[in-house]
Point group: none
Chain length 212, copies 4
């Protein structure tokens, strides 16, 4: 992704490319893949349609790059995290907070994953880079669980993947389905207090789930 071009024009090109990608993320996350218009993207990027084909070849390729970028950013953010393992419970709580925060601050991540799932991960499978990206998903969680077990606080029979999925579920669903939930439950789940209460709740639930 990072280009090693040094000339001024090459830098301009990189900037144009980056603007398009950023616009594409926004548009696809707002309107989905089918609903995302090339023209809307190019307008938002203050470029023109033709440039999109110049840099990305096709709408599909652009979306794949969006996907890759989206995953990459999440991985990057995850990799940056450092958890104090002295107290595994605290670490786990922090991990939950991190995931929750990331989803909240990156609604495009949630939305684009939804879109990709609508298409049964069709685009993900077409990406060479994506398979390389994955696999480290459990990287942060594993040491925490192990620490907790070593400290005698967490149960021995903990399934890592299940725990990971539980955390994801509890963070993702609330934000992903916010709009229909509000309509359905007649409650304003988007209010800051409601969100804070939910975070406290799921942190507690996750802890209970692993506790002895």
């Amino acid at each position: 992704m990072a280009t090693r071009n040094t000339g001024v024009r090459a830098q301009q090109a990189d900037e144009t490319r980056a603007r398009i990608l950023k616009a594409a993320i926004r548009v696809f996350s707002q309107d989905g893949y089918s609903g995302g218009r090339i023209e809307k993207i190019s307008r938002l990027a203050k470029s023109n349609d033709r440039m999109i084909y110049y840099y990305f070849k096709s709408k599909e390729q652009l979306f794949i790059q969006v996907l890759e970028h989206t995953y990459e950013q999440f991985n990057l953010a995850e990799a940056k995290q450092r958890f104090e393992l002295d107290c595994a419970s605290t670490a786990l709580t922090q991990l939950v907070a991190f995931v929750w925060d990331y989803y909240f601050k990156h609604p495009e991540f949630v939305s684009i994953l939804n879109t990709e799932n609508l298409h049964k991960a069709r685009h993900s499978r077409k990406s060479a880079n994506l398979s390389a990206l994955s696999g480290q998903a459990l990287g942060n969680l594993a040491p925490i669980i192990r620490a907790g077990q070593a400290q005698g606080r967490f149960r021995e029979d903990i399934d890592l993947t299940h725990t990971y999925l539980m955390i994801s579920s509890l963070c993702y669903f609330y934000l992903s389905n916010l709009h229909t939930l509000c309509a359905f439950l007649g409650q304003d789940l988007s209010a800051p207090q409601a969100r804070e209460r939910w975070l406290l709740y799921i942190q507690d639930q996750v802890l209970r789930g692993v506790a002895k």
Copy 2:
């Protein structure tokens, strides 16, 4: 939905309408709202484009009816459930199983909700009927929690909505994000055994969450 028509012709009309609605559910759940083609729907319904406008006025109105139908069916299924409250834990376990089962057997429910959330519940807000449908979402859960508390098995400080959301999250996310999760985790979460293990796991987690 309920029609008072008696003539043969009127009945055929109802059937045509129903075929279109059914086809629309399928197409919208497969391709989303923007991606869902009128022509594909009419072909699948063995009707023609014009009839869709005859019965539903527009693509958007059709989608709204699809939404209403989708919610309605879920409500109906929920309302049918009867839980033995003698053992609240068992009842809760059964409730989780029901939700899980429903989502699993009705992928269109999950998909259409995702699509609707992509559009920030825009269509739901345009529906007069939808607001009437909601509100009973917690109807099944509440008595179970109360029973468990009466039996001294569940904690007193249980938030009903939170518990409801937890159950939904754990059932929904797994199925909704199956494809990207498989790609990301490198595991086949769609295998029957994997699904069964997940159900057992979340039943356990929900119980831990409410237990004293």
Copy 3:
């Protein structure tokens, strides 16, 4: 056109037919032939599309009937006129006033004629009745001119058709092109005073045109 049916149902049928015709006149005169929608007509007639085909066979046939009716009404109104020939000038003035008044009170007459001219009188030529209707157009004018000549007030070399066309032109154009004229000239020709002044003016002009 007038039907001699006597039964109650037959009368109802006549009424439906008449309502459709009336609605068609209004719609065609507002929207033209191409722009005139069958559905709009049937709605305005408080009937339904099917009835239009029942009574009129096709949109084109309906328009032809509208044309026939429109001409017929004008002929009828013309035939009703009686002019005192004692003073030919007064009679001519009254004739101009009649034509002006009729056009003004029957904008649909003007509009439908315009529409028919757009189509190069295609529909008129398809009508068997229309040719029968015409021919008496000059019936009112001729005796007046003759009287004026006999009275020594009008010139001998008056072309009847030309005079008729002049009267028509001066009445028709003002009303037919009212909207663009207002926009173009920046004057409100639709104001009652403006209309009255125009009538006085053209009456004077027509008189000057035939006077010795």
Copy 4:
């Protein structure tokens, strides 16, 4: 309309645009606004549907441009006229001939104005340019009338607008309503001799109208 483009490609583009406009004038004047088909226009222009939207945004905008062009051309032709004011009567006769000629040679002008009046000048009102165009309509007539009055040949109480409208009426109506008039009067008004006689007649009438 005037373009400052210099490149070969840009010039070709201008030509395409011009071809579309020309085709649109023809089609709208033949079939009216509702009846005028985009496809027919693009075919006639040897272009394709898409280009119409590329250059004109919508059918309505295209029609507005057609209107503007039509008015503009007439204004241009009017502005080019130079009348010898030495003999006001001759000048007036020439003015009538000019108007008559223009309408005759530009049936699309007549037809498009009719169409626009059918729509109550709806499109004219949407045009920013059109209001600017108007206002000089009486520019040619005024000096002639003044000259005639100075020469003691024309009356003093002449209403400029009325005279203008009279000339327009007499030229316009004959041509605009040619087809129904032929059908109605049973005369061939489109024959060259008939047209020539009409021109002589209306020149005479206009003169009589202003003469002392």
